[in-house]
Point group: C2
Chain length 290, copies 2
């Protein structure tokens, strides 16, 4: 029997451990740090077997999935680099890829690291909210490394398929980080910025779906997102600056009562949105929280 | 039999005409401008009766619901002010209230105008998308006028109840416009600003729920939102400036790699979001698209 070791059973790690049970001839072992998580993971049978000692499992693990926060993943790679099984496939799940792929260069030649980012999540975290169905119809972004073999890519795609991801998007770490700055990190900056407004608590009763949707992800984990933002600073900074500039242009048009300019900007943007809606309608419907 | 005249059978007007059928002893008459809308409204029985001539219906209408865009409502009030039935209740549904309440001052003394804003909608518009259930569990904001009677307020609340609104929020036009600048108009500025980015079309495959949710309302009607934004310019301009400033602060912290400041800002905002989540959990669950 082969072994998958999932390190960290939070929302994503716990959900992966649940989703991967029964995959081919693999045993799914979940590594946790706290007794609380152990008990909860045991109660919901989040893995075939649980451990507090991932280091002891590494030499026998054919697949290792690192599900800590970015700094935790980087630290784990450096600390345990000699313990991985030669020929193992190692992948992670965090939201930045360049920094993690660079850290993975410390691994021995025979260990194959593929950066991964399941575009799935919820606005709540932890093993309590983990579920095997979390990944259904979401994107699974992967950034293969210089040592990635066709066999490992195929194994990873079979795992993605088993977890019912909607598709697998293969790209470079740099491209991933640039895109994610726009599609995910900027959305989180927007959500927290909106929630920082003085009117947040007085606006209840005046909110509609657009407000609830835009602020949904603001209840984020500050430590993890501090890592994600600072590990992708140049790309995110550029996207934030572009947003500031565009909001400013709308504001100037509104302040000047320049209805012609405003109409032109709104027609341009809404036309773009309508076109991208059409493009998506041809694909699968995608449901996910992050 | 009393008569409700719904002027304009778009998404909101069409849905109201459908939701109000069978209300007490009222006949629901829908006024349309185009043959296309007439045919579609007839096919889905959007009203008890349809007309191209709202002016002819006004003298006999006990309730008039104005469902055009803001400029259309203001123009209709001025043009038809002498035709309303004495003692009639007139209300509108548009997203700005100060400008509409001011326009309604032209009505004769015996006509009671109440500004209304159903916080319901969809990212698609028109009679095609109208449905009787659109208002379920959404907020119905009302701004009574100086001539508003207790009887009319009671009638309006019975209509809101019949349409299954989640609650009725009574406020002033100024307060409405200030709140809506934040909870609705700013969300639309954000959505279109995000869609104006160069990466919009290349980001497909990298988007998750936060991106879909934040940009959902960008496929807006440019003419109507030009009106809404410019008719609420001071309040919206202030909220846009506050957003620019806060996004800028996040950007500076990210560019300076100031993890302490970033963590503090994220912890502050996410804590606020978590608190408002809790507050809402006590009320009814609210589903709506706008």
């Amino acid at each position: 029997m082969r072994k998958i070791l999932v390190v960290g059973l939070g929302l994503i790690g716990g959900s992966l451990a649940m989703a991967l049970q029964g995959f081919e001839d693999f045993e799914v072992v979940g590594a946790v740090r706290s007794q609380t998580t152990f008990d909860k993971a045991e109660a919901k049978h989040a893995a075939d077997r649980l451990t507090f000692d991932p280091a002891a499992e590494l030499p026998g693990a054919d697949v290792v999935i690192l599900c800590q926060d970015p700094v935790g993943i980087i630290r784990f790679l450096r600390e345990h680099k000699e313990r991985f099984k030669p020929g193992a496939l190692v992948w992670d799940v965090c939201g930045v890829k360049t920094a993690v792929m660079e850290a993975a260069e410390c691994l021995p030649d025979g260990v194959d690291f593929i950066g991964c980012h399941p575009m799935a999540g919820k606005e709540v975290s932890g093993i309590d909210n983990a579920e095997a169905t979390l990944f259904r119809n979401t994107h699974f972004i992967i950034t293969p490394g210089p040592r990635t073999t066709a066999e490992h890519l195929d194994l990873l795609r079979r795992m993605a398929d088993y977890c019912r991801f909607g598709d697998v998007i293969e790209t470079t770490p740099e491209r991933h980080d640039q895109m994610i700055a726009y599609t995910s990190q900027l959305m989180h900056i927007i959500a927290v910025s909106v929630c920082d407004n003085d009117e947040l608590f007085s606006c209840v009763g005046f909110e509609g779906g657009s407000f609830r949707d835009c602020t949904r992800v603001a209840a984020l984990d500050p430590a993890m997102w501090t890592q994600l933002f600072t590990l992708n600073a140049p790309a995110l900074s550029q996207k934030a600056a572009e947003l500031e500039e565009r909001v400013h242009q709308y504001r100037v048009a509104i302040e000047n009562n320049d209805r012609e300019a405003l109409y032109a900007m709104l027609a341009h943007a809404s036309g773009r949105k309508k076109r991208i809606n059409l493009e998506r309608a041809r694909g699968d419907d995608v449901h996910s929280a992050f």
